[in-house]
Symmetry: C2
Subunit: 200 residues, 2 copies
């Protein structure tokens, strides 16, 4: 009987559960998959699962934040990008791709629905959103010095408008998946161009 438990166990279990949940959600969507199914996939009992996550919603929240973090890796590229517009287009591509596999589409709207009634998740999303907004605004300000953006532009506001449109595009793809991803990126690029750049 060890006096100290394996200190890595909790993290391992949480990862194990999240991986299983992701697989199930992808297969059947958030509402259709049961805790029992996640448990089976993770080879763990319900009681054990609830030791590591307080609720099913808590599991979606964890997945949601992971997915956002992944998409935001593209923010780094933005800072070092030569051209603002191209950098933004790449950012859009990364974000759209992160939520584009067959079933993640439904996950995207589930996340928002969940956030609408879970203040903790909403706050966490808001925090990530703020980071993205600031980074984009900074990139706009930097580009402006080189004449790559309207001088009079409010960069904070423009950044938020771009993020807003990006979420909107992602949502549409989730529901209707009409066009190839590149076409959506091109639309976003056009928007960014009109919104930010003088002349055209």
């Amino acid at each position: 009987m060890p006096r100290l438990a394996d200190p890595a166990l909790p993290e391992r279990r949480r990862g194990q559960i999240l991986e299983a949940a992701r697989a199930c959600f992808r297969e059947r969507g958030f509402r259709q998959t049961t805790i029992e199914e996640i448990c089976a996939e993770a080879r763990i009992s319900p009681g054990a699962l609830y030791r590591y996550y307080a609720s099913k919603a808590d599991i979606v929240a964890a997945i949601a934040l992971d997915a956002r973090a992944e998409a935001e890796a593209a923010l780094d590229q933005l800072a070092s990008a030569e051209a603002l517009i191209e950098g933004l287009a790449e950012l859009a591509g990364a974000f759209l791709e992160a939520f584009d596999s067959e079933r993640d589409a439904a996950l995207l709207s589930d996340i928002w629905a969940e956030a609408a009634r879970d203040p903790i998740l909403a706050k966490a999303l808001a925090k990530r959103d703020k980071i993205a907004r600031e980074r984009i605004a900074a990139a706009i300000d930097k580009a402006r010095l080189a004449g790559g953006a309207y001088p009079a532009l409010n960069s904070e506001e423009a950044a938020e408008t771009l993020l807003t449109a990006l979420e909107g595009f992602a949502l549409r793809r989730a529901l209707w998946r009409a066009e190839p991803l590149a076409a959506t990126v091109r639309r976003f690029r056009t928007l960014a161009l009109h919104l930010l750049k003088p002349k055209r």
Copy 2:
């Protein structure tokens, strides 16, 4: 015992149920309200409710389509508007307002989450979306003749981008409700201006 039943009854019952559901959703959100609560509010039994709606999801779908239809009344104003940009701003105001009361915020994301897995609802939303897109594109084309829009603009695509951003703005308000409605409308107006108008 009448040979023919009251032919207005079904429609009356459906309205009665929808009204009750709306009240409950507004109060507690979609997932938190139970069928039993809707039944109590509508003064009807569960069995009777299921005679008129196939499922709880079916009820949200009906409310969703109603709300959209209401917001789209503003499309008529758009056609007759003197100035394109002002017309669009009014349209945005109407749409945002339709989903802006305390609890309708959550309803908005519920609708999308529901549509992500209910093809019937998704199709119905797509149909309404198409109508809005075409009307906006027509307004852009009309304004273009008077020099109110880029000559080279793809009006269909621009219309879709505007709708996309509008949905994105509505979603953000639903989650964070940071700013007054007029501020969001102003953001949307700026976007429309940059996207559509030559010069600025």
